[in-house]
C-alpha cells in the first residue's frame, strides 16, 4: 500500500512539474502575499497623516495649539485653509483627513473666561485614520485645557505636583496586553496572510482533483492506486500538503521571529496550529470537490467561501457583533477557527483548554473528506469532462 502511495506521489510530482500553476500558487503567490501585507503595514500604525487647520483667530495661543497638533506622531499639518468649506473640499480631494477649526475671537473669549469652542472635523470614511485622529484630538483637547489651567494655577502659586493632582485626580493606567505598541501589522497580517494561504489551499486541493476529471486521467489514477481511493488521494495531496506546510512555517518563522510579532504562546502552538490549519484547509477543498465532483463548480464554491472567510473570521469586525445567524455561520469557515485559536493560544498565550472547541472544529474540517471518498471515487471512474 505504501508503495502505491509513493507511485501516486511520483506521478503527482510530475504533474506539479508540468503545470506551472502549482508552483506559482503554492510558493510564489504566498510569498508575494506575505511581503505585500507585511510591507504595506510595515509602519505598524499610520503616522504623519495629513491634517489641516482653519485658524480664523491667528493669535499666539491658537498657533501654539496648531504646533501641538503637528507634534503628534500620527499627524502632520499639511495645509492652512481660510474657511471651513475650503478645508472640507480639501478632505473631499483627499489632501487631508481631518482639520481643526478655530473660530474668530477664540483667544479673546478665552482671556475673558467665556469658554470658546474649537471644532475638530474628521472623516470616518476611513476607519483607521478616523479613529486614530479622534484619539489624538481627545488628547489635544485635554492637554490644551490642562495647559490653560496650569497657567492659572501656577500663577496662584501651586506646585507642579499639586497642579497635576488637581487636574487629573484619577489617571488611567493602561495595560495593552500582548501588543503594547498597538501594531496594526501584527494585528492584520496574522489573519490576512493565513487567509490567503487557506484560500490557495482550498482552490489547489479542488484543482488538483478536478484536473484529473478534466484531462480524463481519473481511471488511470485509480488503476495506479490499486483501485484504492485512500491511496489515490493521500498520494495526490502529499506534495501539496508538504510544500504548503513548509510555506506556512516559513511565514510563521518570518513574522514571529524576524519581524517579531507578539506570540506569548511560544513556538509550539505555532507548530501545531500551522499543521492544523493546513490540513483543515486541504480537507475543506477535498470535501467541496467531493460534494460537487466537477472542477469548475467546486473551485467556484471554494473561491466564494474563501473570500467570505476574511469577513467571517471576525478578526476585524467581531463575530459577536454580527447578527445571531451569521455568528453561527462563522463556524463553517476554517479561517474563523484558526483566528480564535491564534488569538487565544499564540497571541495571548492562554491555555488551549479555553478554545478547545475551535481546535475540534479544525480537526473536523480535516476529517470531512472521509464522508465523500466514495463519491470522489465514482467521479474519478466514470466522469466525462464537458468543457
Amino acid at each position: 500500500m505504501l508503495k502505491r502511495v509513493v507511485i501516486i506521489l511520483k506521478r503527482e510530482l510530475r504533474i506539479l512539474q508540468r503545470n506551472p500553476i502549482y508552483l506559482v500558487f503554492m510558493v510564489v503567490m504566498p510569498i508575494v502575499a506575505v511581503l505585500f501585507f507585511t510591507t504595506i503595514l510595515s509602519s505598524g500604525q499610520p503616522t504623519e497623516m495629513p491634517v489641516g487647520i482653519v485658524d480664523e483667530d491667528y493669535t499666539p495661543i491658537t498657533r501654539r495649539m496648531a504646533r501641538l497638533l503637528d507634534a503628534f506622531q500620527t499627524t502632520r499639518i499639511a495645509g492652512q485653509y481660510a474657511t471651513v468649506s475650503e478645508a472640507r473640499e480639501a478632505i473631499q480631494r483627499n489632501e487631508i483627513y481631518a482639520f481643526l477649526y478655530v473660530p474668530k475671537g477664540t483667544s479673546a473669549k478665552l482671556l475673558a473666561s467665556r469658554k470658546p469652542t474649537i471644532s475638530f472635523y474628521y472623516s470616518m470614511t476611513s476607519m483607521t485614520s478616523g479613529s486614530l485622529l479622534f484619539r489624538d484630538l481627545k488628547t489635544i483637547s485635554s492637554l490644551a485645557n490642562a495647559g490653560l489651567m496650569q497657567a492659572t494655577l501656577r500663577a496662584r502659586g501651586a506646585t507642579d505636583d499639586q497642579i497635576m493632582t488637581y487636574l487629573q485626580p484619577i489617571t488611567i493606567d493602561l495595560h495593552q496586553v500582548a501588543n503594547p505598541t498597538l501594531d496594526y501589522n501584527a494585528y492584520l497580517s496574522t489573519t490576512l496572510v493565513p487567509g490567503v494561504l487557506t484560500l490557495f489551499l482550498f482552490l489547489l486541493a479542488a484543482y488538483s482533483l478536478g484536473t484529473e476529471l478534466k484531462f480524463e486521467t481519473g481511471p488511470n489514477l485509480l488503476h495506479m492506486a490499486g483501485d484504492n481511493i485512500w491511496v489515490a488521494i493521500t498520494g495526490k495531496m502529499l506534495p501539496l500538503f508538504i510544500i504548503s506546510l513548509a510555506i506556512f512555517y516559513s511565514y510563521e518563522l518570518y513574522v514571529y521571529y524576524i519581524l517579531g510579532f507578539p506570540h506569548l504562546g511560544g513556538p509550539w502552538p505555532l507548530v501545531w496550529l500551522g499543521l492544523l490549519t493546513v490540513v483543515a484547509s486541504l480537507g475543506f477543498g477535498i470535501f467541496m470537490f467531493g460534494l460537487m465532483p466537477q472542477l469548475r463548480m467546486s473551485m467556484s464554491i471554494c473561491s466564494l467561501w474563501a473570500v467570505l472567510s476574511f469577513s467571517m473570521a471576525g478578526s476585524i469586525f467581531p463575530a459577536a457583533n454580527m447578527d445571531a445567524p451569521l455568528e453561527a455561520l462563522t463556524w463553517l469557515f476554517p479561517l474563523r477557527h484558526y483566528f480564535m485559536v491564534y488569538q487565544a493560544v499564540v497571541f495571548n498565550g492562554y491555555s488551549v483548554a479555553n478554545v478547545w472547541l475551535h481546535v475540534v472544529a479544525l480537526v473536523a474540517f480535516a476529517l470531512l473528506p472521509l464522508f465523500v471518498y466514495p463519491r470522489i471515487k465514482k467521479a474519478l471512474k466514470y466522469y466525462v469532462y464537458v468543457p
Binding site: P50, T117, M127, P169, T171, I172, H175, F200, F347, P387
Partner: protein
C-alpha cells in the same frame, strides 16, 4: 461604406455570441449574473450592526466606595461597554479573559476613594485584550471618558471659592472642544467598508467572468466564435469591441444596482448626484472590461483565472487606500495600485458617494480611469490579434 457596415456586423456578431455565454456558461452565469446580485447583500448583512456595542468587561472593585460604584455604573451605562462580571480578584478576572468571557478588565484599587478624598493622585487600571482593535478601542475609550467626567466633578468639588455653576464649568475646562465626524458620521463599519466592497465586486466579478469565458474559448481551440470573422486587419479590435460591448451592457445594470440601489437598501450615506456617479462608473466599467480582456490571455485553462482573481481581492482593497491610509502605503505599492482600476474607482466613489464631492473634485481619479481604459483596450486588441491562430 460597405466595409464599415460589414465590420459593424462583425462586432455585433461577436456581441451576440458573448451575450449567449452569459446564460450558457454556468461559470460566467455564476460570476457575472449571480454574484454581483448576492454578494453585496451578504456583505451588507455581515456588517449590518455597524458599530461595536456592549463589549463585555470584568470589574475588580477593591475600593468598595461610592466613587468606585460611580465608575462601574457609568461604564456600564456607556453604549460601548457592558460590565458582565464582578470579579473578586485580578486573577479571577484574568481567567475570565482567558476563557474569552470578557475582553478586558477595569481594576479599581483599594486606595481609590481614600486617595481622592485626601487629595493624592490615584489610578484606575485598564487591561485590554489586544486581539481585536475595535474592542480594545471601546474598552479604553469608555474608561477615558468616564474618568474624564469624574475628574471634572472632583475638580469642581474642590473649588470652594467659586460660586456660580458657570464659574465652575469654566474653571473645570476653560476651552470647549467639539468633535464633528463629518463623513460617515455614525462611524460605522458598514459605512466605511461597504462602498469599497461594492466597487471591488464589480471589477472582480467582471474579471472572473471575462477570464472564464476567454478560457473556455481558448480551451476549445476555437478562436473564431463567429464563422465569418476572418483573421484580417483590425480583427483584434472588432473582437475586443464586440466582447466589451456585451459585458458593458450587462454591467451597466450591475453598476447602477451596486452604486445606487444597494446603498439605499441598507441606509448607507449616498449623497452623490447621478451625473457624478455616471462620470465615475462609465470609465470604470470600460477600464475593468479592458483590463479583464487584457489579462485573459494569461489564462491557459479557465480555472486558473479563479486562483488569480480571487486572491487579489483583499490586496486590491488595501491598495485603494481607504482601509489603510494612503499616506502610509509604501510608494512601490502605490505605483502597483495605480495599475488597477478599482484603486481609483473606490477612491472616487467613496468621495462622491459618502463625502459629497463632485466629479470635478475627483478629476485626477477619473483621468486615471480613462487612461487605463484606453491603454488596456489597446493592449487587449493587440494581444487578441496576436493570439488569433
Amino acid at each position: 461604406m460597405n466595409i464599415i457596415y460589414e465590420k459593424l456586423c462583425d462586432v455585433c456578431a461577436v456581441w451576440r455570441d458573448e451575450m449567449k455565454t452569459f446564460v450558457r456558461d454556468e461559470g460566467v452565469f455564476l460570476f457575472c449574473l449571480l454574484m454581483p446580485a448576492v454578494y453585496p447583500l451578504l456583505y451588507a448583512w455581515i456588517y449590518n450592526n455597524e458599530v461595536i456595542r456592549e463589549v463585555p468587561v470584568a470589574v475588580v472593585d477593591e475600593s468598595h466606595s461610592a466613587l468606585s460604584r460611580e465608575f462601574i455604573q457609568k461604564a456600564d451605562a456607556a453604549p460601548d461597554v457592558s460590565v458582565a462580571y464582578r470579579a473578586a480578584s485580578l486573577d479571577e478576572a484574568r481567567r475570565m479573559v482567558e476563557r474569552q468571557e470578557v475582553r478586558g478588565i477595569y481594576y479599581l484599587p483599594a486606595e481609590l476613594a481614600d486617595a481622592v478624598y485626601e487629595g493624592r493622585r490615584t489610578f484606575v487600571s485598564v487591561y485590554a485584550d489586544m486581539a481585536m482593535t475595535l474592542q480594545y478601542k471601546a474598552i479604553y475609550m469608555t474608561a477615558t471618558s468616564v474618568v474624564g467626567q469624574m475628574n471634572k466633578d472632583i475638580r469642581i468639588s474642590r473649588m470652594t471659592k467659586l460660586t456660580t455653576q458657570r464659574d465652575e464649568d469654566i474653571s473645570a475646562a476653560p476651552l470647549r472642544f467639539e468633535e464633528v465626524p463629518i463623513f460617515n458620521p455614525s462611524g460605522g463599519y458598514a459605512g466605511f467598508i461597504l462602498p469599497c466592497v461594492l466597487m471591488l465586486v464589480l471589477q472582480q466579478t467582471l474579471m472572473l467572468g471575462i477570464g472564464l469565458s476567454e478560457g473556455t474559448r481558448r480551451e476549445r481551440r476555437r478562436m473564431l466564435t463567429v464563422a465569418h470573422l476572418h483573421p484580417s486587419h483590425g480583427y483584434g479590435l472588432r473582437l475586443a469591441l464586440g466582447k466589451g460591448l456585451a459585458y458593458f451592457m450587462v454591467y451597466s445594470v450591475w453598476a447602477a444596482y451596486l452604486s445606487i440601489v444597494v446603498p439605499r437598501l441598507f441606509g448607507l450615506v449616498m449623497i452623490a448626484q447621478w451625473r457624478d456617479l455616471l462620470a465615475i462608473m462609465f470609465p470604470y466599467l470600460l477600464a475593468c472590461i479592458s483590463f479583464g480582456l487584457m489579462l485573459s490571455w494569461m489564462v491557459r485553462y479557465r480555472e486558473n483565472v479563479l486562483l488569480l482573481v480571487v486572491f487579489t481581492s483583499v490586496p486590491f482593497l488595501f491598495l485603494s487606500g481607504v482601509s489603510w491610509p494612503l499616506s502610509s502605503i509604501p510608494v512601490f505599492w502605490q505605483k502597483v495600485g495605480a495599475l488597477i482600476p478599482s484603486t481609483f474607482a473606490i477612491r472616487a466613489y467613496v468621495r462622491v458617494g459618502s463625502m459629497g464631492a463632485t466629479a470635478a473634485d475627483v478629476m485626477p481619479e477619473l483621468r486615471a480611469l480613462w487612461i487605463q481604459a484606453a491603454a488596456y483596450f489597446l493592449v487587449a486588441s493587440v494581444v487578441m490579434w496576436r493570439t488569433r491562430k
